[in-house]
Amino acid sequence: MKKHILFSMLMAGAAWQPAVAAGILDDVVTKGRMERNGDMTATMPSVSDSLAYEAYLDSISRKFDLGEVVVTGTRTPKFLKDTPIQTRVINSKDLAKLDATNVQDLLQQELPGVEFSYAMNLQTHLNFSGFGGQGVLFLVDGERLAGETMDDVDFTRLTMDNVERIEIVKGAASALYGSNATGGVINIITKQNKQPWTLNVNARYAKHNEQRYGASFGLNGKYWNNMLTANFNRMDNYDVHSAADPVTRIISTVYGDKTLNIKDQLVWAPSKNFNLTGRAGYFFRETVRSADQPERYRDFSGGLRMNWSISDSDDLQASYAFDQYDKSDYQRITRLDIRDYSNVQNSLRLLYNHSFDRGDVLTVGSDLMHDYLYNTNLEGETRKQNSFDVFAQYDWHITYKWEAVAALRYDYFSDGRDSHVTPKLNICYKPLYNLAIRAGYGMGFRAPTLKEKYYNFDMSGIWIVEGNANLKSEVSHNFNLSAEYTKGHYNFTASMYYNKVKNKLSTSAPYFKSPTDKLPYLPYSNLDDYSVCGGEIGAQARWNNGLGARFIYAYTKEQLAKDKKGNTINNQYIPAREHALNVRVDYDRQFTKHYGMNIGLQGRVLSGVKNVEYKDYYDVSQGTVSVSYPAYTIWKLSLSQRIGKAVKVNAALDNLFGYKPKYYYLNSPITDGVTFQVGMSIDIDKLL
């Protein structure tokens, strides 16, 4: 019956009712069989209408969580409990409780070992368990994002409106996803509307004139459904003040921005075994660092995806994706909007699954991408590249207790005619029905970007950032081992990993080409081998009295890379903090039919970290110094009140204990004290 399960999940996609999935899970465990989505929904009461019920459906509740369908680890739909690749899920109920605006806001609240800091020019930079923004592949419904700044995608594009869940897979996954998946994959899955119609409006206000407005409108017909989402956020710039004599760079202004996100997704399903999904999106951000020349960022995205269940055993997915990310400077005085950057990605994708009688699944896929980059700081201003890949994966259910998944992929990049073969192997062993042990090896690679190859950028007269056409790909070897145990209300996880990274792509030591050079060159280089190792221990429980708690501790040891000659160099970005703890405790109670509340406390504790920095950037022979960045902790208290079926009133005190960094270093938390947030969300369809 396994092929039957795969078919159901593929066609239903993310649209499963959580309660249905939870019910199915028990079915699967006890009977080893499951019904199709359509058949099940007909028998389910409309429990999800109850806002009170939502409290029990977050990812702390393992009954729900393990029954969730995930796709990222294997590129095929699998139950979370079944997937041989350890996957962390943040679902829509978590999102509602955390009230995050975008993925940055969310991940730092929810995941230990994830830190967002500032890069050199005060652009946001991610450190994800020792890997920077270019080593973590961000996907939206499986599609890549165009554009980067200081090696990171634009996180403000990834708003949390209309997100069904976020799947996080740590470790190298290039055998399935190609370049950039050296440290992990974060896949944001959007919602599909299943109700006849839905209309939600929401708003939030906080310190620094932070305003957030969102609306989503869904319609569902016999053969089609549509979801339109719009979101607007804004926050003012504000100054922060450090004590005297900082030991390294500090920031003095936090830049707010205005962002607008509009997305539409239309699904046409003329038959049970075929559907087409079309989507279009527009994103706009304006950041004002210089009053007369605001920076503007735009993104135009679109796509078409076909899901076709050819037979009970064969599924085919074909898709086309377009993503264009532009940067421009608006000259306010002359009202001229001058573009200086554009990255356009056109991708075609084929994905075929064949299910065998015993439950094994063969996956074969191929991608073709055209990458266009225009950048006024690029040698020649424009560069183009085609990339092609083909991959295969076999998911082998060896016995009831053992499962193995192996994948192999070939990638080709036209610029430099670079190619890679990338393997992956994961094994899952379930000695007990509630204990899963997973082990895996994965290779990851990151092909040098067109920017890293051809950049030539005079950075404000400080130095010239210089591309290197001879760069090799960065390659990582990831070994991981994890265990997950569930007993009653409790769930425990433990994991450890080791990454060996070769040819790390980074800027290297600044140098003068000739004695007459006024400015040093900061070249992109392949650095020497280095390693990142670490682990996580987590415990969580949700009891019937409405109380839930989760503690996750993460350890990350990021060895700093040296150059190929063994010289210590200034790390391009501040490394990961060694110790991190994330805590979430919440309590939910429904007092009457029309009133309930959820009170939650979330916190994160991060240890200090040391970085190696040059004494003198113009004379690196003077060596380096070790700079210590302090530890800190931030807590958030939130209260969500449910009034009737349709109204939620949220209030939160972020940075509850009013932590203020003594020095606002690049990796300090961006806060100037306690922040009060107040917001409201109304499901208008439920009012009527």
């Binding site: 020019n121 087409l276 210089s290 050819i310 554009s342 006024t376 424009t382 404000s460 113009y618």
Partner: protein, 282 residues
């Protein structure tokens, strides 16, 4: 349920994908952006590329007035847009001095002349990556030759610095040349500010900025007129802000001129590419 066969599925998908692929590989919606175009000065305007860190550019308002009245459009346009560069002397003419020898103090007690207003390069350390450039200290001095000038000039520009040829400046509250009173009579009894000594404002190199060290030319500048364009660090890269007020310049010969900085960005967004409105004689 619609009767869909495999051929229909494929046709629909191929048609859809084909339609989507019509989008340009090099992107869409180019038209929403503007193309950089050369700035052509209007009547009563100067367009000056003052982006150089190492040069002064001189404006002779008398000459501009003569050309405007002569009717020689080509010569006027040239005078409105082309300005000879006068390099800041960089060659040391004496020994480096690491300590202040004299210390003239301003009203706030801040040292404003460490070497008795000698011409030369003054190296200051600025807190570029800390609290900002308002926090700065003298590091060393190297004497150089004095700044060369043309025979006739009214004011000179170096990036965001302006100095006058013995003139003095008043900042008005007007933000448009058209709103100004008929003549300068209205301003004549007001207080005009003459040029003042400066040794940490006329930055002439960024070469050591990453360490916070920036050399400046020791020279007199007009701080009131220079306030038409101010630079702040942080942030990094620096932030520039435009003061749209009209300034009244009283020349050495007693004539008056009205000046306003209209824009400081080049068509490509390069800073210190100035479009200046002027009215002379005023």
């Amino acid at each position: 349920m619609m009767n869909w066969n495999k051929r229909n599925h494929l046709k629909t998908t191929v048609a859809g994908l084909g339609l989507m692929m019509l989008t340009a590989c090099n992107g869409i919606f180019d038209d929403i952006y503007d193309k950089p175009e050369e700035i052509v000065p209007a009547k009563g305007q100067i367009v000056m590329d003052a982006t150089s860190w190492t040069d002064w550019y001189y404006v002779d308002l008398d000459r501009l007035h003569q050309l405007a009245t002569s009717g020689d459009e080509a010569a006027l346009l040239k005078a409105q847009t082309e300005f000879e560069a006068y390099p800041i002397p960089m060659q040391a003419t004496g020994d480096r001095v690491d300590t202040p020898t004299t210390a003239d103090e301003g009203k706030d007690g801040k040292v404003i002349a460490t070497q008795g207003k000698k011409a030369g390069l003054y190296m200051y350390w600025f807190d570029v990556f800390g609290v900002g450039i308002k926090n700065n200290t003298f590091s060393f001095f190297e004497p150089t030759a004095g700044q060369t000038t043309p025979e006739n000039w009214t004011f000179a520009v170096h990036r965001n610095n302006v100095r006058t040829n013995g003139g003095a400046v008043l900042e008005t509250t007007y933000t448009s040349m058209d709103e100004l009173p008929e003549s300068s009579e209205a301003f004549r009894n007001m207080t005009f500010t003459e040029d003042e000594w400066s040794e940490n404002a006329v930055w002439n190199s960024q070469d050591q900025m990453l360490q916070g060290y920036v050399p400046s030319q020791g020279i007199e500048v007009n701080k009131v007129l220079s306030s038409w364009l101010s630079m702040e660090i942080p942030p990094m890269p620096p932030s520039f802000s435009l003061n749209r007020h009209v300034f009244i310049l009283r020349l050495k010969n007693g004539n008056y001129a009205a000046l306003q900085l209209e824009n400081y960005l080049s068509p490509n967004g390069k800073k210190c590419y100035l479009t200046i409105n002027y009215k002379y004689p005023y």
